[in-house]
Assembly symmetry: C2
Homo-oligomer: 330 residues x 2
């Protein structure tokens, strides 16, 4: 706590904090009643909705000192927005359920809300409600309600022969996490990527539109794990060429496991019917990020395989982030 600002959320109290916070949150398109009543009342542009929830927990997803409060708020929001992007939708309304220890500074909690609200506005959404409760560790759970496109991109539409593309770059956030583990003061692009997931909403919407993508998933728990979800849902296998995976030189030097199983990339992985290859690749300049061909779907019996430059298989493709795997504790 800094001098001149001795207030913790415990001393200010839930109601005292909300009395300060709520006036900063009012308004926004489609918001008839914002935070402060029993529920928010909103008008959705469509009746077809995308709904998702995700959480960021201190000691599981980050350690104190790795993220400033405003960055915690931004990251919690953007991680949820990534799920909306993977369906090709637009986030519209956001609710934040926050658990916080009584000694948490109320100004930090205000900063967390500011970060969350700002990231929401940048992507066309509004923070319309929430809940604040005491907890032993900081926990930020974000629920997003989004507008569905006419044909949301599911995980289940890929067919053998479809090409596999990934947006942006892989492994950068996982490298940033490793750097922070070694040194909480670490800096640079990987740390920046760990702190702030990319916004792939425009890319997701364009890829879902007109059925460019036969299936899509966001890469949040490591490429192989999320590819596995797509393959299981679609009933296909996959062949990935390791040398094609988009990564910075520093990530490539740090090793293939970061690229394949790193987690927190928040990029999009999509399957595209081969006949649409040319059209989808022409789309790249409008996506706001790279779109890289990394492999293709194969019949399910061939499983998921990652091949090196000589076509040799690099293991069985099972890996990724599990919150309950103790080894991954930050």
């Amino acid at each position: 706590m800094r001098p001149g600002d001795p207030q913790t959320i415990g001393s200010l109290g839930e109601l005292g904090f909300l009395a300060r916070l709520l006036p900063t949150l009012r308004g926004g398109r489609g918001v008839l009643v914002g935070p402060g009543d029993d529920t928010a009342v909103v008008v959705s542009p469509t009746r077809r909705l995308l709904v998702t929830t995700d959480a960021l927990v201190e000691g599981v997803h980050f350690r104190r000192g790795w993220l400033r409060p405003v960055q915690i708020g931004r990251k919690a929001y953007l991680a949820s927005a990534s799920d909306i992007a993977a369906m090709g939708g637009r986030p519209r309304f956001c609710l934040a359920s926050i658990g916080v220890a009584p000694d948490f500074p109320s100004r930090d909690l205000a900063a967390l809300h500011r970060g969350l609200g700002a990231a929401a506005r940048e992507t066309g959404a509004r923070l319309v409600g929430g809940n604040l409760t005491r907890a032993r560790e900081l926990l930020v759970s974000v629920t997003l309600i989004g507008e569905s496109p006419p044909r949301p991109a599911l995980r289940s539409g890929a067919r053998p022969g479809d090409l596999l593309y990934v947006t942006g770059t892989l492994g950068e956030a996982a490298l940033g996490l490793e750097m922070l583990r070694r040194n909480a003061g670490a800096r640079g692009e990987p740390v920046r990527r760990f702190r702030e997931p990319p916004k792939r909403l425009r890319a997701g919407a364009l890829l879902a539109r007109s059925g460019y993508a036969s299936a899509m998933v966001d890469v949040s728990d490591g490429l192989l794990q999320d590819l596995g979800h797509l393959c299981r849902a679609s009933g296909v296998g996959a062949r990935i060429e390791a040398c094609l995976l988009p990564a910075s030189p520093s990530v490539r030097r740090a090793g293939l496991s970061l690229l394949l199983a790193g987690g927190e990339d928040y990029e999009l992985l999509c399957a595209v019917p081969a006949r649409r290859q040319e059209r989808v690749e022409r789309l790249e300049r409008r996506l706001g990020c790279r779109l890289t061909l990394i492999g293709s779907c194969v019949p399910a019996r061939h499983g998921v395989r990652v091949l090196d430059e000589r076509g040799r298989s690099l293991g069985d493709g099972r890996a990724g982030f599990d919150h309950f795997a103790a080894a991954r504790r930050p």
Copy 2:
């Protein structure tokens, strides 16, 4: 852990648990894509939505042993549904964000989901999504998306002269909490009420309809605190007659503070224009619960007062439950 079921959520893992849970959750009216994709895809009956989120935390709202896992799931859901009831709406879609320690038995986590899903179905809603993360204590955060009535009942519509009514009975859950604090094996109606919030959705919908209620709020943090919210939002004061407050003999014996500031009643408090008194009282038999006149709204300058049988004021009306007040730790 019981013999024959050695699996904790830590050993089963997030994905292993979800692989068992998801097949039990599919389907339901308006659910195009249930849990298991990046987001759920749902079709809302209306574009006007009510959205709310609430959380139940071990060590804050309950101690282990006070609630069985299935009861934790039910209570987490019903507490959120109470907010929808207070607007006169209908819950439709539910998301559950759960934080749990790795040593939590996976069968208990399945029971928690069963309780949550069953309570949702009983009130016309479906569990369509969620998130599971590691945490130091059990935390269940429930987000509900509901259908708004044409005129949702806000906290802000009460006028001086309006009558104040409350559904059901007050103080029972708070007495149950006191009993459990003294003896974790306590039984009886108060304990039952602590474990399972009442469903006031039908009452809320009827009271909101045709503007019977000029303002409404759910009583979850103690009557005085929630009455205070209604009064501040409406710009009125209130006069409550202590002898009119609906309570069982055992709650009345335990003292007025349980009735006024107990918390977790999950009843509805509503203001009704005096000219509608007869009509609203005729409504009672259709509400599924008692509806009791407890006082009236007065000009704001008179504040919120509770009067005893001789018309003497019983304090200044500021009390209630704050999650951060250490004295309320269970």
